[in-house]
């Protein structure tokens, strides 16, 4: 460390939208004003993970973890911390500050149980500077693979590591590579699936934003292993930062001779092109993705043949998700045994989750497989805000299901989640509390898949629409008990009959909520009540007279003048006028409004 201080400012999408770029500029300005530009190093990094505390600034050598930082805080950080060596404790996160003293990030509750393999460089290096990647062993895995290992040895290593696809299916990665190696054909392709579409998921985005070179290196290793000289990264156009950093990374790698006809001078050709997705969720399905790269409508096709045999432009194609690839260089460098020692028997390694919903520490976490849901929610996630009760965790996005509080001690791995009626999916983890209505949740996810269905096969195109219509009826209080059986029957039909993974998993949110929260459905249908008070048609707002102090706050926010009452007198809601907008609930300081 030549400089006195390294200032790391988070350049992930979340922090950037929190103006972290302006914070960078402010640091530059302040340093210039003080004439200490040469003494500090400013680094715009990838995501640190603790998005809830963003924008985040970390300063070494102390490892002070500041967040949330605003532009106006920069002056103080520079004058106090940089110039005087006094950590600005008021900006330290509660997690990284103990009795006013800065605590090591690694020991904080948020990071303590995490193990960062894929995210190793995220929040550490400048993703737009290949030299920083090289300094952290970058491309030494490729060099090792090509100079010390035969193709089959590379694949055997991946196989032995037990790595499974992180995109959702959980297929054994090494086996996929083997199939592609064995497939006949001169031209083969390596495709990176970066079409991350689950609502609330941003693992792949963060990896591409924080460490794009690692994905390039992994694709090069894959290219060497299966015999391909051409790679495509299919990434969502909605990820502009990821796309731009990946583009910069590819150009830098080309300029360094890392990508090209004689990659790293080791005798193999490999180059990568970026293809932008137009935002259709179904293009995350591998066959739809490949069609989209070909310039066709992104629609899945029946498998087999699998892409490894007949993929892009009908050529054998290895298609792996970003996070899967993110593991590859580390496995090659550290060996299969190292990786296989992490996690559970059938799910090795770590998994990155995007933690969201009713949880204090929303953000990106990477945990060893087998970590319990409780650890993730209570320790890493810092629990539920406002002291509410944990109700369920939704994993796997629209393809997954809801895991109820009774299963909070389940060790997270592929098979356990499936056994619970959910799935790993790509890694979205949405936490719900008692204020979430599970019928509403099922409806939300189904509305998503119903809209994102490509419309090709009957079960998904019409079945999911009908399924959604039943849920709509139920949430409007028009359901009948027989609808619950119909939901179940139609759900199983759609799972069994749909063409691709989207349809085959679309009913999971319905089935899992029906399984664990049937009483809530029954309340909607039989009692015409929404216990969580979410389904508008089933909620009526009343003011509890004992709690009302007549402050008129509720009356003043009501947009339709549905609240009657004088100052210091009891207030009443005219339910005929009430539009159930919830404004009064938010305004009342006494919790006097019930629904």
């Amino acid at each position: 460390m030549r400089e006195r201080a390294h200032i790391l400012v988070c350049g992930g999408t979340g922090c950037v939208s929190g103006q972290s770029k302006l914070i960078m500029d402010e640091f530059k300005k302040e340093a210039a004003a003080l004439g200490i530009e040469q003494e500090i190093k400013l680094i715009f990094t990838g995501c640190f993970g603790l998005c809830a505390k963003g924008p985040i600034v970390v300063i070494y050598p102390e490892g002070a973890f500041y967040g949330p930082v605003s532009v106006s805080d920069v002056k103080e950080i520079v004058s106090e911390h940089i110039l005087k060596g006094r950590i600005v404790t008021r900006l330290l996160g509660t997690d990284t500050c103990e009795k006013g003293v800065n605590k090591s990030i690694a020991e904080s509750a948020f990071y303590k149980s995490q193990q960062r393999i894929v995210l190793k460089n995220c929040g550490l290096i400048d993703p737009e500077d290949i030299d920083e990647y090289l300094a952290y062993d970058g491309y030494s895995a490729y060099e090792k693979a090509v100079t010390q290992m035969m193709r089959q040895q590379v694949i055997d290593c991946i196989k032995a590591s037990g790595l499974r696809g992180r995109g959702g299916g959980g297929f054994l990665t090494g086996l996929k590579w083997q199939f592609c190696l064995e497939a006949k054909g001169k031209q083969k392709y390596v495709v990176c699936n970066a079409d991350e579409g689950d609502p609330g998921a941003f693992m792949d985005r963060s990896i591409l934003e924080g460490d794009p070179q690692s994905i390039i290196e992994a694709m090069m290793i894959a290219g060497y292993a299966v015999g391909s000289d051409k790679g495509y990264v299919y990434v969502r156009a909605e990820y502009p930062i990821a796309v731009s950093r990946l583009d910069i990374a590819i150009k830098q790698a080309r300029a360094y001779g890392i990508l090209g006809k004689n990659a790293m001078g080791l005798g193999h050709a490999f180059d990568i092109e970026i293809r932008l997705g137009a935002g259709a969720f179904v293009c995350g399905e591998e066959t739809a993705l490949l069609r989209s790269i070909e310039g066709k409508r992104g629609e899945p096709r029946q498998r087999p043949p699998f892409p490894a045999v007949k993929g892009l432009f009908d050529k054998p194609t290895l298609i792996n998700n970003v996070e899967t690839l993110g593991n590859i260089p580390q496995i090659i460098l550290n060996g299969a045994e190292w990786f296989a020692a992490i996690g559970t028997e059938k799910s090795r390694g770590t998994k990155v989750f995007a933690l969201g919903g009713k949880i204090n520490n929303t953000g990106l976490v990477e945990i060893p497989m087998g970590t319990t849901l409780r650890t993730v929610i209570e320790e890493i996630g810092g629990g539920i805000p406002n002291g509410k009760k944990f109700k369920a965790a939704q994993t796997g996005g629209p393809s997954g299901g809801c895991i109820p509080a009774s299963h909070i001690d389940t060790p997270i791995d592929y098979d356990n989640l499936i056994a619970l009626g959910s799935m790993m999916g790509s890694g979205g983890l949405i936490v719900m509390d008692e204020e979430n209505c599970m019928v509403d949740i099922a409806k939300f996810y189904l509305e998503f898949t119903e809209e994102e269905s490509c419309g090709k096969c009957t079960p998904c195109r019409i079945g999911n629409k009908r399924l959604y219509e039943i849920l709509e009826r139920i949430s409007e209080g028009k359901g009948e008990l027989s609808d619950l059986d119909k939901l179940e029957q139609l759900s199983h039909y759609i799972k069994d009959n749909s063409l691709c993974g989207l349809g085959q998993t679309a009913p999971n949110p319905v089935l899992s909520t029906l399984k664990y929260f049937r009483d809530e459905y029954v309340a909607h249908v039989r009692d015409k009540k929404c216990p969580a008070g979410v389904c508008k048609a089933l909620v009526s707002y009343t003011i509890i007279p004992e709690k009302c102090i007549g402050c008129t706050l509720c009356k003043r926010v009501c947009p339709v003048d549905a609240i009657i009452g004088e100052l210091k007198g009891k207030h009443v809601i005219d339910t005929a006028k009430c539009i159930k907008c919830d404004a009064c609930v938010g305004a009342c300081k006494k919790g006097a409004i019930s629904k």
């Binding site: 029946q302 119903e450 994102e452 419309g455 090709k456 009957t458 079960p459 079945g463 009959n497």
Partner: protein, 581 residues
């Protein structure tokens, strides 16, 4: 090829490697219902009607697309499968315009059949339905998306078979529909009007524009002379509409029925097919002589093909023969020569053609197709429309007696008849050209190399001293291959016959619709062409230039093939078109 053995419902069956479960089941004696699958056209596995259980598979498997493997254990009729198939059809019905009573396909609808077969409840999954306006603003194809089941066979026909590709899936999820780019109406796209999409449609979502009322009004008008001409291939398909065997010859009954319908005259367009040969033959000989002329010369009988080349290879239009199609020559001859001969005012003549083709409805409206000053052709009916007309007139087609075509321009040679199958135009031309060039009669008039269902056929034939290389193409995807060769300067043919529809007119877009169940087992093209070639084999008059009607036509009226008058009346011009304007 290797054989594999699997079991279907515990019945062992051995099939060639690569066979689908559907094919293996058929071999084992089990029919699996299908909806979207149509051999050679669509294997999208989108409808999910053909699901079966395969031991060890994660979910149900579509028999139409899944390849059978050695040792596979398949069950095709469990409770789960029955329930699944039923739900699938009920879901389709829940978003289907169920006006079956007035549907053109009622009684010949694959969805209706499946619904009946599975004992479906059409109200089981009632819910929101999509609403589309019926698109009938072009003269050939009507699209009613309210009846579309999204099987995508039409897309397969348009893209894979024809390489026209003007229709595709639009929007997504429940809102998915088949439409054109930018939601343009079909008539404003490079659609060639071939109608292949109609013949593959399992329901009434696609149909021909119905012109039967117009024809009935002509017939009902006492001031009009209404002449009808029948295309070569219609006689071998019309019977299918009345329960006849595929390809059964119903020429006599067809003529009788037309007379019973009240047409003034019933003529055979085989005759103007002969005329086409005379004109086209002369044109080729001219081109062979002229070193600056465009070769290969390509036939122009198929209006779908003409529209295709106009849109896709406008720079190569010089290769197209300037001859009108037999239909248009027929109309032109009727309103000029025949009108003069019978002293009829051409403005009082209506010429109706019975065609295997929807593109003919469009061809009639092309520019430069009015030799007499009045449109050569006034109305075009497809084989299907004629059948409807016959049925609606109460004519008992099975029972009626045959009748002959009318004189004096009724007779055609079987060289004209074989126009109905791919290769027929070429064979007829070769018969005439060989004899005209050498001056000697042919020992054998059969040119078998140009027959059959292969998409691209080649032959080399001696015309006197010159060896002429010919090529016969059917299906526009095949035509594209040949045209790309010409474009690249790699083509060494002298003459090419192109028919837009695979197999030629016997498989035209206006022909009777056979369900996938039939088409997956039987090649309609083979069965229908067989009858045509059998008729040709038995005939005495097998060469166009020997047809006495043709001889009289030239003697009395046109002078010689390629004459000035012939050019005025029997030839036309083409237009360079842009795909999207």
């Amino acid at each position: 090829m290797k054989n594999i053995t699997l079991t279907i419902n515990n019945t062992p069956v051995t099939v060639a490697e690569g066979a689908t479960i559907l094919e293996a089941a058929k071999a084992a004696g089990f029919n699996i219902p299908t909806l979207c699958y149509l051999k050679d056209v669509c294997q999208d596995s989108s409808c999910r009607v053909c699901v079966v259980e395969v031991k060890g598979a994660r979910s149900l498997v579509t028999a139409c697309s899944a390849v059978a493997t050695d040792g596979m254990e398949v069950t095709t009729n469990t409770q789960k499968i029955r329930a699944s198939r039923k739900t699938t059809v009920e879901l389709i019905l829940s978003n289907h315009d169920k006006k079956c009573l007035s549907c053109v396909r009622s009684g010949n609808c694959e969805l209706q059949n499946l619904s009946k077969e599975f004992n479906c409840d059409e109200t089981a999954y009632e819910g929101a339905m999509l609403k589309f306006e019926v698109e009938d603003n072009n003269p050939y194809i009507v699209r009613d998306n309210n009846k579309c089941v999204l099987c995508r066979r039409c897309i397969g026909a348009c893209h894979e078979i024809q390489s026209v590709g003007v229709i595709g899936a639009s929007s997504r999820g429940f809102n998915t529909y088949v439409g054109c780019a930018f939601d343009k109406p079909l008539g404003e796209t490079p659609c060639v009007a071939c109608g292949q999409c109609i013949t593959v449609c399992p329901t009434g979502a696609l149909s021909e524009k119905d012109d039967t009322q117009k024809v009935l009004e002509y017939i009902a008008d006492p001031d009009l002379t209404v002449i009808v001409g029948t295309a070569p291939s219609v006689r071998v398909t019309l019977g299918e509409e009345f329960g006849g065997q595929i390809g059964a010859d119903s020429e006599g009954k067809m003529v009788a029925a037309l007379k019973m319908l009240g047409f003034s005259k019933v003529f055979d367009i085989d005759m103007t097919a002969d005329l086409t040969i005379m004109e086209e033959g002369a044109e080729l000989l001219e081109r062979l002589k002229d070193t600056t002329a465009k070769l290969p010369m390509i036939t122009s009988c198929s209006p779908g093909w003409v529209r295709f080349i106009e849109f896709n290879y406008p720079a190569l239009l010089g290769h197209l023969s300037s001859c009108k199609s037999p239909q248009q020559m027929f109309g032109a001859v009727m309103k000029t020569y025949y009108a003069e001969k019978t002293k009829t005012d051409p403005s009082k003549i209506r010429v109706v053609s019975i065609m295997p083709c929807t593109a003919k409805k469009y061809e009639r409206m092309r520019a430069n197709q009015a030799a007499s000053g009045f449109a050569d052709i006034d109305a075009v009916l497809t084989t299907r429309e004629l059948a409807r007309l016959i049925k609606s007139a109460g004519i008992d087609f099975k029972a009626i007696k045959s009748a002959p075509f009318d004189s004096p321009v009724g007779e055609g040679s079987t060289a004209g008849l074989i126009f109905g199958a791919s290769g027929g135009v070429m064979e007829a031309a070769l018969r005439t050209l060989s004899e005209t060039v050498s001056g000697k009669p042919l020992a054998n008039v059969d040119f078998k190399a140009v027959r059959g269902t292969k998409g691209i056929k080649e032959a080399a034939v001696k015309l006197g001293e010159t060896e002429v290389k010919v090529c016969v193409v059917s299906g526009l995807a095949n035509a594209r291959i040949i045209m790309d060769e010409i474009k690249a300067g790699k083509s060494n043919y002298h003459m090419i016959e192109v028919m837009a529809c695979p197999g030629g007119c016997v498989n035209g877009g206006g022909q009777p619709i056979q369900s996938a169940n039939v088409r997956n087992q039987t090649d309609l093209r083979i069965e229908r062409a067989k009858t045509i070639y059998n008729k040709d084999k038995r005939a005495n008059l097998r060469k166009s230039h020997e047809n006495p009607v043709i001889k009289a036509l030239y003697k009395d009226y046109f002078g010689k093939p390629g004459s000035h008058k012939a050019h005025d009346i029997l030839h036309t011009t083409y237009i360079k078109r842009k795909k999207f304007t």
